[in-house]
């Protein structure tokens, strides 16, 4: 189960998407999210899904890998689906006690589920195709205009990249601790909610201690290499937008225009 979580993971490949400038990819995800919220019918979603499929194919990330990333959020998906299907008013199709299913409800439920799935695939593709370091550089560059009004752009970017870096590490640590406590006969699966919550203590305490230890080691390693924030810091690889980056960005904007006109027309 823990191995299934692909959030914040990088899939190494040499595809056009991987080579794209991270700023363009970040902008692309933001634009795509905007697209998804502009769309108000299934024709629009069809367009969005087609665009995403094209992007996935170009990225060379195996579909299986992406689907595995969806598994952990299945619960949230099912919950929103159920909430929508039962809570939205409309023409009643089926009723049992206070539970009723309406045509509007089904429509909204499917609509929201599709939106959520596309949203998650698109954002997980960003981290799957962009190395964390490129991602942070991109965020920092995009926020650099804000630095002039006192926003600590570099620090925010660094914090984010460290957080991303910590996700797989902490998952691995959790897996290790769980196994170690299981070896001592711990049982996480049976018993009532109270018992189960209590059985988490032997995992959470060591995990907490470990994360402080890892954080401290990291801080020490950064200080040992004279890290003192972003001021005056130069880069080994300067980020430069190439022709293909402009082309990709133009295509993304064009797609936004298509989505807007689709909404206006239909």
């Amino acid at each position: 189960m823990i191995r299934d979580i692909t959030l914040g993971q990088y899939y190494a490949a040499d595809s056009p998407v991987h080579r794209l400038d991270s700023r363009v990819k970040i902008a692309g995800v933001l634009l795509y999210i905007a697209d998804l919220f502009i769309v108000d019918d299934f024709i629009g979603f069809g367009l969005c899904a087609a665009a995403l499929c094209l992007y996935v194919v170009l990225s060379q990330v195996p579909v299986k890998f992406i689907m595995r990333g969806l598994k952990p959020i299945l619960l949230i998906l099912i919950m929103t689906f159920c909430l929508n299907i039962f809570m939205v008013d409309g023409r009643i199709l089926w009723q049992w006690g206070f539970l009723k299913v309406t045509d509007e409800g089904i429509y909204t439920a499917v609509f929201m589920a599709v939106r959520l799935i596309l949203l998650i695939i698109a954002s997980s593709l960003l981290t799957l195709t962009t190395k964390p370091i490129e991602l942070t550089d991109g965020i920092e560059k995009l926020m650099s205009p804000l630095a002039k009004i006192g926003v600590p752009a570099h620090d925010i970017a660094m914090t984010m990249s460290i957080a991303l870096r910590f996700i797989p590490m902490l998952l691995e640590e959790t897996d290790k601790i769980m196994k170690a406590q299981q070896a001592r006969g711990a049982d996480f699966e049976s018993g009532n909610i109270l018992r189960r919550a209590k059985s988490l203590i032997p995992i959470l305490v060591p995990l907490f201690v470990s994360s402080f230890r890892i954080a401290q080691d990291l801080a020490m390693a950064m200080e040992a290499r004279c890290y003192r924030g972003g001021k005056g810091r130069t880069r080994m690889k300067e980020m430069r937008l190439k022709g293909v980056d402009f082309l990709a960005f133009f295509l993304m904007l064009a797609f936004l225009a298509v989505v807007i006109s689709e909404r206006v027309v239909f």
Binding site: R3, Y11, P62, K64, F65, R68, K176, I177, K179, A180, Q181, Q182, A183, R184, G185, A186, D187, I201, P202, V205, P206, V209, S210, R213
Partner: protein
Amino acid sequence: MSIQVRGLKHVYSPGLPDEQLALDNINFDIYDGETVAVVGHTGSGKSTLVQHLNGLLKPTEGTITVGGVEITAPGTSMLEVRRRVGLVFQYPEYQLFEETVAADVAFGPKNLGLSEDEVNSRVRDAIEIVGLDYDEIKDRSPFELSGGQKRRVAIAGVIAMKPQVLILDEPTAGLDPGAHRDILDMIEEIKEISGNITIFVSHNMADVAALADKVMVMDKGRLLMMGTPREVFAQKDRLKEAGLSVPPVTELMAELKEKGAEVDDTILSLKEAEEEIYRFLTRNR
């Protein structure tokens, strides 16, 4: 009590792009009272192998029988497996979580559903076996102990479950030479007291030569060789292929032999080396 492993195979993430064959057709037997060392390069499958022995990982194929019970059969009680086979992980001190040392050591026995008296006596015994003073340490927080002490407490937590097979995954990793020696002495002592099977994973060939009755050499998920330390360390070239070495003293004797001294190069301990060199120096008198 003996262990039989037949055709053991383990695949991580089957059917996915990061699919990885971690263990491939492993077969071996371990008999009662034996101390077995598992050696191998990083990523050779040592940890995966030992995690199978107490049911934490399920084999993709193959069977494991411990003391006549097939632990890989469906429906086997995992608690029963863990009572028989105790596993001490790498850096076990990172798993301590209770407020006091005694409470932490009691975690395992309590999970076995033992009576309070039994738990208390086991905790006392286990803490004494690992060479700590029960009365002095029982009420202290495990987090305020030294590195070596923490590791002993963590090992006591497994010993208190009285396993018939004790597995230690790199028990001396990251310890200073003094604590390293202490832990090795402790392992020997535990073995003498219990007379059970002890399996340990190690990178230190001198430790392996000193402690083990048998050595298992893992390479890329396969069991490359298994035999007595003398048999295994005689095959220096094959070990080298697997990214491993022989104990320093064996290496020394091999180099002496290369330089033209007619000495036996299957020496495993300093004492043997001393005798052999003495024999060589006095042979013509």
